[in-house]
Symmetry: C2
Subunit: 385 residues, 2 copies
């Protein structure tokens, strides 16, 4: 019997991936860039047991047995086995795969990226695979490929039809910009989410603006973003991040029929951040939104206390949610400037527009966990209850 | 003393105007197309008195005395005078100008287009100006130039720097497509509206997608729209209308900082119309949104009853608003199909998301009113109270 347990991080794109040029291999129409978030506050965790005694391969996600017939799951398994050391004895053994996300999947926080990265990374331990395996994770969920590295990561769209050059590389390591912080604002929404897979497909088929963006705007923007990150140039980084988030949602609106991911609360957050940056006469915070209403704010440590006070004032929590409103790193306190408070009056929202807030930072890539207590399976190789 | 009273209509664009190439002359970056709405339900009305006894020019709008220093107002006055018959004796007399909109300006329904068209059209009566004066209206408010004709109207962007070829022409007269109907859904919104003048300016300065749209997409779409209108091809007309509305809002979102005009209620309307067209397996209704959350629906007379029932079901009015919820033409009734009702359940909204609904149709251009009782001034030339 062989066992491996790993953790893999969430990543939040600052130059967005939206649109595939190959649906099957999951090859994107443009490069994208993301920050990898700390494993301490949000991550996927997977334990895989391989044993000659198992009679079938089973997969549990958050405690529920899943079908292993899923095409993307099968593809990842198949691809990682192709790269296995030829003499690995367990290649034909069945597997027990047990996965968990330590954040609510319902929150619409790119759980599939961390999940597929973790699955593939853990499989790579079992089959003793070396090298850049991000392209294998890509076949599970496109953006998963960016979760194979810590720090700042670029997914190269690649040129080849077989997808072998569509993989992630590190732009800068996790300790490169130590002041960088991230606030995830989880927005209340009663609306059923659009699937990003089908939204993306419809966008590619119908939006001329998306095509123009991918071919003519993103290539230049990616280079500017790499420079901004390498130079730790926050104002440029922030402006590009906000512009690219808006342009991605703009392409969604140009899709026919249109897909909407932002709601009225998202809109208030966007307007609030612009008003705050203008008030401070400096770009201090950047927002970005994926395929859902939740905001991810990038900002520097020195500005966290004031921004958190501002968010608390504009988005009062429901009394019942108070104790669990903040998750992640310890939240600093400050008192809010009177002039700032005055500016914020018009932004103030009713209670409960945000579900909770996660305060986190840029972190490392996937980790192998060696302690027995870390395994998600009991000694018999079955999931712990 | 000379007196003239006119009415001018509202127009609703189906190919949108967004972006000026000349701020001063109000020259657009692309052609646009609109339908002129019936004067019976929404219009501006203006009375102008010219007399050698007046010692100054005054202007009342909806009962309030306005400054006449407004640059656009002055420009329209100046330009129309340039075109006056040289022997018109009143050219140097002062004016009393009295204007009213017969629909709430607060509703965000392009009141400035009807207002400036009416002002210029009435001035043209006073100064005995002939010919296409839409380019004069354009200098007051760009889209006003489309309110000088009935039916279906195209505003040619023109090529000249002096703007002399940037004017409106009729694509089809008001009786061309007699089955066409319009429902204006006035959406409740507590948000202060963005000015469209400044939003448009920021879009031109910052949105690369807007530039691409104006240069590469709209020219083709305008020709397709003219064909669809001339052929009374509703499905093509409707699809182009929805796509162009979405692309205009898409450009607003690509603006930096972004401008939002749609709110969550607008979003429900968009999704509802797509779901309804899909349910009926035919494009039966088109939505379009200007620089605000209100929807304008284009549909054929035969479908009005069912669509109104659907809207009533999805957007229940507040009990207090019931008696005045529908304005305009008499609303037909029907009972709603059970399968349709079932499909609509998930769309149902709380009471009061719509303020009211105007049911109207395509109508004529401006009219001169000859009856004494139509004048907005009393016999002494001062506004009636």
């Amino acid at each position: 019997m062989k066992i491996a347990t790993c953790k893999a991080p969430v990543n939040i794109a600052v130059i967005k991936y939206w649109g595939k040029r190959d649906e099957n291999l999951i090859l994107p129409i443009n490069d994208s860039i993301s920050a990898t978030l700390s494993l301490d506050h949000m991550c996927a965790k997977t334990t895989i047991v391989s044993s000659p005694d198992l009679t079938e391969t089973r997969f549990w996600l958050n405690g529920e047995l899943q079908s292993t017939g899923n095409k993307r799951f099968q593809k990842c398994l198949e691809e990682i086995k192709k790269r296995a050391k030829p003499d690995v004895e367990c290649l034909n053994w069945h597997l027990n795969i047990v996965s968990e996300n330590n954040f609510p999947t319902a929150a619409g926080l790119a759980s599939s990226a961390a999940g597929y990265a973790c699955l593939v990374y853990t499989l790579a331990q079992i089959y003793e695979v070396d090298g850049n395996i991000s392209s294998v994770g890509r076949m599970g969920s496109g953006s998963a490929c960016r979760s194979f590295f810590g720090g700042w990561v670029r997914w190269l769209k690649g040129e080849k039809n077989d997808g072998s050059d569509s993989l992630a590389i590190q732009v800068a390591p996790e300790n490169h910009w130590p002041e960088m912080r991230v606030l995830v604002l989880v927005v209340s929404d009663h609306k059923k989410a659009y699937s990003s897979t089908s939204g993306m497909k419809t966008s590619v088929e119908t939006s001329e603006l998306l095509k123009y963006r991918a071919e003519n705007i993103v290539p230049r923007r990616v280079e500017e973003m790499v420079q901004a990150i390498q130079n730790k140039d926050f104002p440029t980084f922030a402006k590009l991040t906000m512009q690219d988030s808006n342009q991605f949602h703009s392409s969604c609106l140009d899709t026919y029929p249109p897909c909407f991911y932002l709601n009225d609360t998202s809109r208030v957050i966007i307007e609030l951040i612009h008003a705050y940056n203008e008030f401070r006469e400096e770009t201090k915070v950047a927002y970005t939104f994926d395929a859902g209403p939740n905001a991810c704010l990038y900002l520097l440590e020195k500005d966290v206390a004031e921004v958190i006070e501002m968010i608390n004032y504009v988005f009062p929590s429901e009394p019942i949610a108070m104790s669990s409103y903040f998750k992640g790193k310890a939240v600093p306190y400050t008192t809010i400037d009177e002039k700032l408070m005055y500016m914020l009056i018009n932004f103030r929202q009713p209670e409960g527009k945000l579900k909770y807030i996660i305060y986190t930072e840029v972190g490392s890539g996937p980790l192998v966990l060696k302690e027995a207590e870390d395994h998600l399976v009991a000694e018999n190789g079955e999931p712990k209850i």
